[in-house]
Amino acid sequence: MSKLNLSLSLVFFSQILSAQSTGNSGSSLMTYGLIGLCALLLVWALFGLASNLLKIEADKYGLDSEKNRIGIVPGLSDFITPSKPSFAQEGSFHYLTKGHDIKLEGAATGGVSQANVTRFALNPKNFHGMSPIPKVEVEVGMEVKAGDPLFFDKKRPEIHYVSPVSGEVVEIRRGEKRSISDIVILADKEMKYRKQHVPDIYKTDRAGIVSFMLSSGLWPLINERPFDMVPDINSVPVNIFISTFDTAPLAPDNNLFVEGNEEAWQKGLSVLALLTSGKVHIGLDARGKTAPAKAFTESYSVEKHWFKGPHPAGNVGIQIHHVAPIRGHERVWTLGVQEVVTIGRMFLTGEYHADRVVALTGAELSNPCYVRTKQGASIDELVKNNLTGDNVRLVSGDVLSGKQTTADGFLGFRDDQITVLKEGNDYELFGWLLPLAPRPSISGTIPSYGKDFNFTANTNTHGEKRAIVVSGQYESVLPMDIYPQHLVKAILTNNIEKMEALGLNELTEEDVALCEFVCTSKNPVQAIIRQGLDALKEQS
């Protein structure tokens, strides 16, 4: 279809040119034009036919491994698409044009230092679909080892959520209606691990591996799409996806995650490969000038896919969409790099090592840096002596889809980043008309300050919530064949059939976070998508 458009527009332009050069009005020009048009159409039809025949032949021999790479006429994309970087030879290459990189001040730099944290917590609310009051298996004052179960969901008692550290349970915090919020553990100086007997993965069947993962507390590390939940114990994913880079604002460099953990990473991948009916796919970073860590590029028993483009190219949801989109009621598992490493280390050592490299980022930190700690570390202890002011917001995660937390809160279960940014609770005189302080935006009405400028953003909404007026805005930052604005409207009208048809299955909050950021009418797109996913889950 695009080729037809192209050739037609070429014909049109040639006509314009000839009409202007001769200046002749009347029928003779028209006749020549029509004859020319017919001739061109004929040539185009012949080329199209030949090209299609070639494609059919190629298909027969299975040559067309990448979509539409075979044909006699070069496609427009051949001229526009940049070639693969030299290091990205193995695996498929995807160039995404839609999206937007939000450049912020306060990126973490330097090497990883050891953080001095004593309090850790596991929060049942970090898991979607968990009952508000899970069964807690420990009491205040009890000693636990790293890997000892802390609680389970009464609906799914097989899945144990285990302690990231060893130490004494010092507090069980409760939230609204006596729901459990944090189980706080004061960590030992010297970690003690619960030793597990590891089965030989090549001599055990899938059920054996699954039961080991359930008993050892590895299972909750897995995230299942479409609903972003800990998977059901009987669930068999059609594919497993791991993104090895993060494009979110101030996101940590994932290469640091595998430094020194190369063996555990590969072990984790090998284990995962046994759990899916399809393949393990890893998304690799093709944006930079140099190749990502060797551990990533030399991984085996996985399919490799290179992605180049602005945020959200590093989101696993986007990568799934371009590699093997979720169809119907299929289930797909996703994991972060550090979760894979934890799984790998368990299978290597029999111990639950919940080590996490965490990026402390944001313009309100005096020293943005990387630290090594464990899952669920205390926020207060992580950012101690590092804050520059009082009027700040602490976010566990990135500024787009992280969760707001307080100093006495803890790092989220899957989070590898803390962002500290200024609260924007000031009035601004004619702020909507004359933005005096630079602010990130995709709008052409707000100065962009060039490619290398880092913004110091605050949490002001920069306007009030309004009815949706602008169209095409969400689409411009979502590199998927999905119409997010219409999807949002389908969810708001609770049209289940339509939300499913428009591809809600393929999205979770983090994928549409950028849509929410750019929305001129300040609509809570992420919350709406979650509302839709919940409605969909209830139906199925």
Binding site: G444, R466, G503
Partner: protein
């Protein structure tokens, strides 16, 4: 921020006087960006909001306003055969233009915003900014001599029936500004489609009619000009014999491009010193506005390009048939007359009433271009087709989107 404190002190009570509070809120948020912070979703938000979006469109229209003011006066004196040069009698032209334009502008905003504030207070939500653009567009598409009560009526109709009945900003099906014009077009046809109304300041446009000057002309401005030593409004100004107030389109329908150029030169039409609605005569200044909208990415380039493609394609087709003089007019000549460019830049690109999918926008634009030109060239009853074409496509925009979405859904199903 002492100023904020002062404003906070005079805030009316929301329960006791909802209307006053709504009005206060609208003006307060106009002066200060509110101090609300994000909660629950993204922690930072784009600096763009609806106020800024709407004002960008209004800014893009300002050159049309400036030139429109001048051109009202210029056409008035051209009809009298006086001050034919561009700069001759400049102050008189501006003064006459202001006398005509300001009441239209004020009525349009007072009536429209009044209704908007009333409904916002009634529904208990903040005043949406949509009317900023509508209120600024309406004067530009009216003839300078439009009776103010008709204008007020049309705005009441457009805002209440066209917008509030559908649920307010963002929910309307038809472009509000065009709806108010189409209301006049069908309810009071003589005031908008005759050939006498495009030149203001005379009761009739027959030779010898005296200019219709009021207190503002003869007393207010004449006193000022007298004191400044400039030329004054002359009550003896009258229409020259044999003057025709016909617009290029009316001429084109009669005798094609030749007849048009026998009255108006090409440069007159491009720069806009011709009779017409207040803001749509100057093609160059409209293009500047369109450029502002395109560079800031406020308006959709797909719709604009689509309309251009539709116009060019249809004019080729009509040229090929060529059975009436008007059919032989080429697309470049079509661009020079009438209000195509204004409709393209400011009317069709209204994001609420246009198609909302990218592919839909192309279809929408092209269809407007095709239908509008067909109406312009083939239909003797309507001198200009863009208003009707855009309203028609507004009606069909949801249908276009529906088919685009269906194709996306089918594609997803075929994968399963």
């Amino acid at each position: 921020m002492a100023l904020v404190d002062f404003f906070k002190r005079i805030e009316p009570d929301k329960k006791k006087s909802p209307f006053l509070h709504t009005a206060y809120d609208a003006f307060f948020t106009f002066a200060f960006s509110p101090n609300t912070v994000t909660s629950g979703g993204t922690h930072i938000k784009d600096g763009m909001d609806l106020k800024r979006l709407m004002v960008t469109v209004v800014i893009a229209m300002q050159l049309c306003y400036l030139f429109g003011t001048y051109n009202i006066g210029h056409q008035h004196f051209v009809a009298a055969g006086q001050y034919l040069g561009f700069l001759e009698g400049f102050h008189l032209k501006l003064a006459h233009g202001l006398i005509k334009l300001l009441p239209i502008f004020v009525v349009s905003h007072v009536v429209g915003l009044g209704i908007e504030f009333y409904f916002a207070a009634k529904k208990g939500h903040a005043v949406e900014e949509g009317f900023l653009v509508t209120g600024a567009l309406i004067p530009l598409i009216m003839p300078p001599d439009i009776p103010l009560w008709i204008l007020a009526f049309s705005i009441v109709f457009a805002v209440i029936i066209g917008k509030e009945a559908f649920g307010g900003t963002g929910m309307n099906i038809w472009n509000i500004a065009l709806l108010s014009r189409v209301f006049i077009f069908f309810a009071y046809p003589l005031t908008i489609s005759g050939d006498q109304i495009w030149v203001s300041g005379y009761k009739k446009l027959t030779g010898g009619t005296l200019a219709d000057y009021g207190w503002w002309h003869t007393t207010f401005f004449n006193k000022i000009f007298d004191w400044m030593g400039l030329s004054k409004f002359d009550p003896a100004t009258k229409v020259i014999d044999g003057f025709s107030g016909a617009t290029p389109l009316a001429l084109g329908y009669e005798g094609g491009w030749e007849k048009v150029t026998s009255v108006f030169s090409e440069s007159q039409m491009i720069w806009g010193t011709i009779p017409g609605s207040i803001g749509e005569t100057s093609k160059v200044l409209i293009l500047v506005g369109a450029l502002i909208l395109l560079v800031t990415r406020v308006a959709s380039w797909r719709i604009m390009a689509g309309m251009l493609v539709g116009l060019i394609g249809t004019s080729w087709l009509l040229n090929a048939i060529g059975s009436t003089p008007f059919m032989q007019v080429t697309w470049t000549q079509h661009l020079m007359m009438g209000s195509f460019l204004f409709a393209m830049a400011f009317m069709a690109t209204d994001p609420v009433t246009a198609a909302t999918t990218n592919r839909g926008k192309w279809i929408y634009g092209i269809m407007i271009g095709v239908i509008g030109l067909v109406i312009r060239v083939m239909n003797p009853a309507y001198p200009e087709g863009w208003m009707l074409a855009i309203l028609l496509l507004n009606t069909f925009a949801p249908t276009i989107d529906y088919f685009v979405l269906e194709s996306n859904i089918k594609k997803r199903l075929s994968r399963a």
